[in-house]
Symmetry: C2
Subunit: 483 residues, 2 copies
């Protein structure tokens, strides 16, 4: 796959300047006109380079002022390590559930003062009052709603499906509401997608690291995971995927979080997205995308979904309102391309239609225009919290800690120096009432034990700052395990 | 299995007298004292015989007056045919989804004036206002409920699980709330149960006929169905099951609806329930019970669940509030016995925790005591509607039509004379705006094509009577196909 375009070369040039300290935090970037003259490139190449650096969190666009180097750089934190190995480990059955559920259970047994383990926003970040009003309106409009079995069309309530189809346009996806099947959150959508295209024992390629929910789904379905190395900047490595496909000729599906990947926070450049969709289509490997986070991006331009490049129904698009609108509702959806009929069958057999009440309540809200205002507030809060947590990590954690500041989302992926063990950190922190998500939850291997995912969903309070400081001391006290 | 107890012999004696017309509709049964003297049996034997005939719909108990022969008999309708064949057809993969979904889709495409196809009550039969108040109360108590991900315990909201554990006591099941996992309706519970104990390609024994939802689940999971003949009176034939187990030594699970089976309306006698539970335990065949309907029984004494006899966790109990409280909510639960940990894992991986709002709203309602009053009203309405529909069938349908009047539930299972085709009837009726559920939806074979399931969930109006009369004329006009 040839993906290193001119704009990516240009972005790489400026990335080096930022990493070397030639361009510092707060510095204004050369104007697009200057870049065009200096490098002999077109306006769109200069613009795309800046947008990529914005996506990867290195630049920020200030209205009417141009691009500036983002503030994290002043702390001197190095960016996360790029994967050293391109050839994936052999595909293997997933055995992560016991480990993950033990970690979750231990975390729930102790009283936790500061929970940094989740990947969700604080309750106050979500529009509870508006959702409540939506519920009341729905019950006024349909007083006997609870007396009717199922929505008026089997795959979901028409108003909600229409609202989701409009929402998908933001990610550059054109869908008819008929193509949308409402699910119990993105988790059920991913289950249905994988059940539609695999049999137990099949090999499924996934990102490495990836969120443990996906690994648990693979485990529960008896599937083998082939973990493809990912760049903390640009997401799944297409080179590694190509290599893997030479070794494993029986990849039955690929699952990717293209925007604000969990836990990395990486966002795939558009060129990579296009190349990946074409690559999968050419090999007839179903491409399952989890687009849970893209509405949480700080970029000026909304992030495109992989489905935007789908020509022949080979991309199965899964999405959810869980992280962006209502963690307390399980409202997801799936557009399954050429597996639409099979997914409809599986959904009907697995859990029937999703409840109507939430769908109507939310459709009204999305149509009221208040949703966009909520999203703007949510993004701004998360961005501020993310930057403050990152600053604290930069300030308090031991030298050599590495971290990318993602361009949106709910968490930071922190790499501890000296191969310290996040499992040991998890237990030490729990004793002090602090819960983290240790890196070994995010892979079927132990490769990420020196990492932890820290939530940025909570308001940055004195208590949170204190917890981060305490956490940093615990990290410093852990033995280094480097050879 | 020796299951023909003394009380069953006695019940059989009186059943013959009813069928022969010696005892007629409205006749008072001999008193228990007379029965004891006449047959030389104990009080409990006489009482059990009457209770079994009450369960099978032949007698009704009138407070302080004793047992009476039920009114349907006056119409001269013969009871449904007992299965002639005991050895099941070979186990085979299920291929019913296309047939069923085509029937459902055709039914939905045409404007339907009278829908007799469902197995649900009319919206007015459910306590919409009380449920709405429950929702409002829940939102007042927890204003930021939609901002919180998941219930306060992973398997469901504690108040709801406690209410369900109390509810289970009615079916003589003793469970701790911790043993209850909340699901998206009984359908998800059955999925999880089957996924916990089978692999694709396994053989699962089911009742024949059975509800198409179960057959669709088997199909979607790649399981083979072994259809065990059922008596329209007493449910699954234990003799047939024994025979089947001799031929098929690899039965991996058995799914049974012990109370008010769908579509038969049969209820297993307690002796059969006990024998079945012991038989499965001895052979280590997981017994999955679907207890969706038992609260809709007219019997004086509540029906016991199979789980009531479970000694060693071999019974997986699945239940739901869908038919009895709120068709518009997807609130079910599962108590998975020795597969509890595996089902917890599968539920978490399949769809995460079920939404909280409905659980809190309903727990409050169940705890208010209004639930029992609602159930009494619901049972009385359904009974009256069921008897009126049965009378209309008896009156209008061609001679030779057979029908059991079940002792509760939402539908009647009608056998047309002369092997008429319910598929042909479905299409003819649809043209006239009447929807029925043809018998071939209820088996992977064509064995039940001469049957149809008629809903008794709707109020008995002039329009409904007219539709049944019209349906009867269509039945009469169908060609007989008897050899």
């Amino acid at each position: 796959m040839h993906t290193e375009n001119l704009y990516q070369q240009l972005a790489g040039h400026y990335l080096k300047a930022i990493d070397a300290g030639t361009l510092r935090s707060g510095d204004r970037m050369p104007s697009l006109r200057v870049m065009m003259e200096r490098h002999g490139v077109s306006l769109s190449t200069a613009l795309n380079a800046c947008r990529q650096l914005e996506q990867s969190g290195h630049l920020e666009a200030r209205p009417r002022s141009g691009y500036f180097v983002r503030s994290l750089r002043r702390s001197g934190l190095a960016p996360s390590t790029e994967p050293s190995q391109q050839l994936p480990d052999p595909a293997q059955y997933v055995g992560i559930h016991e480990r993950v559920s033990a970690i979750i259970a231990q975390g729930q047994q102790r009283p936790v003062a500061v929970n940094l383990a989740g990947a969700c926003g604080a309750p106050a970040l979500y529009p509870s009052e508006a959702l409540k009003q939506g519920v009341l309106r729905a019950l006024r409009q349909r007083p006997d709603l609870f007396g009717h079995a199922g929505p008026s069309t089997p795959n979901g309530e028409p108003a909600f499906r229409a609202a989701m189809a409009r929402q998908a346009l933001v990610s550059r996806i054109k869908l008819s509401p008929d193509e949308i099947i409402v699910t119990h959150g993105c988790i059920e959508a991913l289950n249905l997608a994988l059940r539609a295209v695999t049999q137990p024992g099949d090999v499924v390629a996934v990102e490495s690291p990836t969120f443990f929910g996906l690994l648990q789904i693979l485990e529960s379905l008896g599937l083998k995971a082939l973990e493809i190395p990912c760049s903390p900047q640009t997401g799944i490595s297409l080179e590694a995927l190509e290599l893997a496909a030479h070794t494993y000729r029986d990849i039955k599906a690929l699952v990717v979080v293209p925007n604000l990947q969990n836990p990395l926070g990486s966002t795939m450049p558009d060129a990579n997205k296009a190349a990946l969709v074409a690559w999968c289509a050419a090999r007839q490997i179903p491409l399952i995308e989890d687009d849970t986070y893209s509405a949480l991006s700080d970029s000026e331009a909304p992030q495109a979904a992989l489905k935007a490049w789908d020509q022949d129904g080979n991309v199965i698009h899964c999405a959810s309102l869980h992280k962006i609108l209502a963690p307390g509702m399980r409202l997801g959806w799936i557009a399954a391309g050429r597996w639409q009929a099979r997914v409809e069958m599986l959904k009907y057999a697995q859990s029937r239609s999703t409840e109507v009440l939430g769908q109507i309540a939310v459709a009204d809200y999305l149509d009221s225009g208040a949703f966009e205002r909520h999203l703007r507030r949510l993004r701004a809060s998360l961005r501020s919290q993310r930057e403050q947590v990152a600053e604290a990590v930069a300030h308090y954690f031991p030298a050599g800690t590495r971290l990318n500041l993602p361009n949106g989302g709910l968490a930071l992926w922190v790499e501890m120096p000296g191969q310290r063990s996040s499992e040991a950190l998890f237990h030490a922190a729990l004793k002090e009432g602090i819960r983290i998500a240790p890196g070994l939850m995010f892979s079927n291997s132990n490769r990420f034990n020196a990492y932890l995912r820290i939530s940025c969903g909570m308001p940055y309070t004195r208590e949170l700052e204190h917890a981060l400081r305490r956490l940093a001391a615990l990290v410093a006290a852990l033995p280094e395990q480097q050879a």
